[in-house]
């Protein structure tokens, strides 16, 4: 596992965000706010936590990562390319005519993309299947699955919460991107999830909370030492939609769907390149 200091992870995340802005801004397709909110989580996983091999994406001993909130696809593609799974210039094809990469992630459209996602509430059940298979073969690999908090409106989240606990999937780590915003409003105004941590604990999960933009906290939360035998783990990562671009942080609702053009694109680039 590669170890980099916090400053290096911050620098990487900034570079990844600047790529996300370029991918979405230039192609005018994709979800910028939700991609920026997960950029630090995905950076922490690929550069500090998960076992993987960019030269052998199918390495059986790797940790699995499933991005369930497929609309954050730009963050995954940019991170994978920076991690060496694909050349950086592949990112210019994101969501363009004729590309294997769509706005929402498509399995194998870039080495390392483990599933197709876009419709919400599919990642946790698939992660459960993978975790069952890995447990069955006594594998030491862990399965990380990243969902949005709005995504937790989906019933499959709670079916999965029951099943993962019942089958004692302690090789499963669910990370919730708790940016507090969804398509039409604040998450807790749409369907209130609180008390969120207590819900998970009541379902039989180990529940941790962290600042999803703080690498020290993220690394600590994802550490194998937190694993409790026989229990799945959920990490509620408090995040900011549009993180890294000030005008988006201030107006996250508008930037769920909107893609920045001209002046806005330039401002975002400047801020991230600073």
């Amino acid at each position: 596992m590669l170890k980099r200091d916090v400053q290096e992870l911050q620098r990487l995340a900034r570079v990844i965000r600047s790529h996300i802005v370029r991918m979405i801004g230039v192609g005018q397709k994709g979800h910028l706010g939700g991609s920026c909110s997960i950029a630090d989580v995905v950076t922490a996983l690929y550069f500090a936590k998960m076992r993987h091999d960019p030269l052998n994406p199918q390495w059986p001993q790797r940790d699995r990562f499933l991005l369930s909130k497929g609309h954050g696809g730009a963050a995954l593609y940019a991170t994978l390319a920076h991690r060496g799974f694909a050349p950086l210039d592949a990112l210019s094809k994101y969501a363009r005519d004729g590309s294997a990469m769509a706005g929402h992630i498509v399995k194998d459209s870039m080495p390392g993309v483990e599933t197709t996602a876009g419709s919400l509430g599919h990642g946790l059940p698939m992660a459960i299947g993978r975790a069952l298979a890995l447990k069955g073969s006594r594998s030491k690999s862990r399965v990380f699955v990243l969902v949005g908090d709005g995504e937790c409106n989906e019933g499959t989240t709670w079916e999965g919460a029951l099943v993962a606990a019942q089958f004692k999937l302690d090789n499963l780590v669910l990370i919730v991107d708790r940016n507090g915003e969804q398509s039409l409003g604040k998450s807790d105004d749409v369907l209130n999830l609180e008390p969120f941590a207590q819900k998970w604990r009541a379902f039989g999960w180990t529940c941790l909370r962290c600042n999803g933009h703080n690498f020290t906290e993220l690394r600590k939360a994802c550490d194998i030492k937190n694993r409790v035998a026989g229990k799945p783990t959920v990490i509620i990562a408090k995040t900011q939609k549009g993180k890294g671009v000030t005008y988006m942080e201030k107006d996250p609702l508008s930037w769920h769907y909107k893609t920045p053009k001209d002046e806005f694109l330039e401002r975002a680039r400047k801020e991230l390149n600073a």
Binding site: T116, A133, T156
Partner: protein, 307 residues
């Protein structure tokens, strides 16, 4: 039929450690032995079919060969999007086993009837659709399914069906099987209702109309060449199914007929796009929709008489 299939998978699981069998809390007395012998691979994922289908995809992504079992509406329409997005889009080795095809659970009421599943599953790219007619054909086709990668949808009746083919039928996935020969009329039947078609054909023979019955268990991919041949060589081609006529087996054959210059007249028999208001056994329900052997005989005889 369901016991035949489950036992086949159980047997194969003894030599293939990659086989997983998931049930949505159904299969009382059918899955017990399997579960007892392989508690780590024959799993009850609870009454949560959407999660179950997603988990099946996850297992298949790890290289496992996965079977998902429940009563048809619950293992198809309840988790249709998981079938599309997780299983079919990613083209995974998952076999969906729906029990209670058509009106097999007639008396249980309309929630347990399965008359839309064939149309739904046919419309999914990558999905192959098979509806065996009796335990012997289920065994023959089931073995072939075990040897080939999915995704598959297996439309089963339930248990206790009569054996239509005392000798092991020479059936192949993707090929129509001539169960009874006849020169004038060809009745193409799919699923357990083939039994009624066979009865009708015997009656037609007695009435002086030579009727063939082809058991078309594989609805997708369809045996297009066979159908084209019958559209040329017979005076009348009739499809019989215990499914809604819109989008089902008859529609699949009609798609071939519409694009092919045949000489035969063509009719579809099945459920005429309406839900029943009264309920009863499978035999009762078939009669409501004109699908008993006697009714099929009368309908075909009438159509043939007008040609």
């Amino acid at each position: 039929m369901r016991n035949t299939i489950v036992n086949l998978i159980h047997e194969r699981a003894k030599s293939d450690s990659g086989i997983y069998f998931l049930t949505g809390d159904l299969g009382y007395s059918v899955v017990d032995n399997f579960m007892k012998e392989f508690p780590d691979r024959c799993l009850n994922l609870g009454i949560a079919e959407q999660n179950m289908m997603g988990a099946a995809a996850g297992l298949a992504l790890e290289g496992k060969k996965v079977f998902v079992y429940s009563i048809t509406p619950f293992v198809t329409m309840r988790c249709m999007e998981q079938i599309r997005t997780d299983v079919a889009l990613q083209n995974l080795d998952v076999t969906i086993i729906g029990v209670g095809g058509g009106f097999a659970y007639g008396t249980l009421g309309p929630t347990h009837h399965a008359i839309e599943d064939i149309a739904m599953m046919r419309a999914i790219p990558n999905m192959k659709v098979v509806a065996p007619s009796d335990p012997a054909s289920a065994a023959v086709l089931g073995r072939q399914i075990l040897d080939q990668k999915g995704p598959w949808f297996l439309h089963l009746n339930k248990g206790g069906e009569p054996v239509l083919y005392p000798k092991i039928p020479y059936m192949k996935i993707g090929k129509a099987f001539v169960a009874k020969t006849g020169k004038q009329v060809s009745i193409l039947a799919s699923g357990a209702v083939a039994r009624e078609a066979l009865e009708a054909a015997e009656l037609l023979d007695k009435a002086g109309i030579g009727a063939e019955v082809a058991d078309v268990a594989t609805i997708k991919p369809l045996d297009v060449e066979f159908i084209k041949d019958r559209l040329k060589s017979r005076r009348l081609v009739v499809t019989v199914e215990e499914n809604n006529l819109l989008g089902g087996f008859g529609s699949a054959v009609a798609e071939v007929a519409a694009e092919f210059r045949g000489t035969a007249a063509f009719r579809r028999l099945g459920i005429d796009d309406r839900y029943s208001q009264s309920f009863g056994s499978q035999a009762y329900m078939r009669k409501l929709y004109g699908l008993s052997g006697q009714q099929i005989f009368e309908t075909v005889k009438k159509i043939y008489g007008k040609l």
